[in-house]
Symmetry: C2
Subunit: 315 residues, 2 copies
Amino acid sequence: MFPKKIIELLQIQYPIIQAGMIWCSGWELASAVSNAGGLGVIGSGSMYPHILREHIKKCKANTSKPFAVNVPLLYPDIDSHIQTIIEEKVPIVITSAGNPKAYTQLLKENGCKVIHVVSNVKFAIKCQEAGVDAIVAEGFEAGGHNGREETTTLCLIPLVKKHINIPLIAAGGIATGRAMLSMFALGADAVQIGSRFVASIESSAHQNFKNSVVDAKEGDTVLTLKEITPVRLIKNKFYNDLAATYNRSASKQELIELLGKGRAKKGMFEGNTDEGELEIGQVSSNIDNILPASQIIEEIIDEYKSSLMEIKQWD
Amino acid sequence: MFPKKIIELLQIQYPIIQAGMIWCSGWELASAVSNAGGLGVIGSGSMYPHILREHIKKCKANTSKPFAVNVPLLYPDIDSHIQTIIEEKVPIVITSAGNPKAYTQLLKENGCKVIHVVSNVKFAIKCQEAGVDAIVAEGFEAGGHNGREETTTLCLIPLVKKHINIPLIAAGGIATGRAMLSMFALGADAVQIGSRFVASIESSAHQNFKNSVVDAKEGDTVLTLKEITPVRLIKNKFYNDLAATYNRSASKQELIELLGKGRAKKGMFEGNTDEGELEIGQVSSNIDNILPASQIIEEIIDEYKSSLMEIKQWD
């Protein structure tokens, strides 16, 4: 009852990829998602190399199912991360924030399946040329990896689908079974889900951040920092400071200085919801509780099945 | 093979509502859409009262099927428009940009079905309280009536659906049969389609504007003018002037002065694509030709049927 391409490629039960969110996606979340039939993903962007190795080892110890590591290619010690991934025989790698040509061949030669994250058609085409196995196309709604074009998931998926023929994973704005079905109707082969898993028991996000996600209402997130790296944030004190800086037409340098170092860690991992950067998707407005990852997947699949049944019954 | 609520309420063949776009939606487009099985809509926001009456009369002369008039409630001579609609026994009225309580009762007493356009949950609830027959919920992607919250269609439809139980029409980012099916998967009862019909033979948009819609690529539109009335524009010379004005932290008054009078008419109706305001949805990036309205509807229905068939065949 699902599109086949991604579940066959990755050997998973459900076409649900957990996003590799910094500060939230350690081995606890990744192994829980994989055990529940999705693809669990370790987010290496917030890990030192030795920490990544520890998470991979613990993930392998806690699930026998496929899992992945997400690697932002602008990570300062990227070669070390790639080396660790190869040595630990991670079956699937999701690369992002960089040139898909850089590591795809090396990873594939070492037996990894490679998926790259894009937010526009231009990079989707580059990915296909680079020989990646699949693409994640991420819309304006998402908590990160957003494009400067502001193309929403509903507009992005058909555009990307028009230009590539490798398997396509839709991301941004997806947290429910109905949203998953809507993406399959558009032609996606699987979905990537981030925000819903931030608000899971196994997420390593600070409890304060999880609570902020549950509390977020319509209009409480905003896509910002396009001059540096576009990201969607909850409108907290830090965001208000940022908005004030924009309002006086500040330079990119001033924005970088205000951002400083460790803002995301402060907010998402240490729980300082005033001064920290709280990266989350717009769909947080539709997330009302913190559940175990397995229950999240079960609820998504149940809703998917019932909405699919509804559509099948139209005569 | 469609959700039933809207097609039964409005007595139309297909759950496709043509948006009542200013300068584009006269009687030619409205009657063509209604004759092809959708709901044709006259956009009264760019019409003097006597012009609206003429369009209604011509629409009635050219179709025996139901049609509607869209009325922005902030229209300066609104009472005159409402009076014309009642006198001409227009069967369906789509109100927008104002309080749904203002005219709903009067219109319903005079035999009209009333639909109101919203972009957030707060107004959706107000609409239901005001007794409207259905709601159009319009996302960030749309060419107009956008919310300041920037909620995309994919995030907005589930949120609105959670809070109301009257029929729900999804709008913003929809131009194809697959996108229509994706909205039904989310729980919408029909779709409203604007941009795709701007680029139709029967649209009264200037040929230059139609060509701009066909030429628009990813990232070529932007949601702006939130301080006045949020609207999505093609990035042309006028938009660049606007962006420069924003960049120097101009006041709302300066923006109003730059906008001036008649910018939309100049761009969309007179075809001055440099100095005019070109209002269009983000989905223009996925529109590649100018076709008769009947053929647009036929293509949407064909793609819808084939993608529905695809989904029904998953075992």
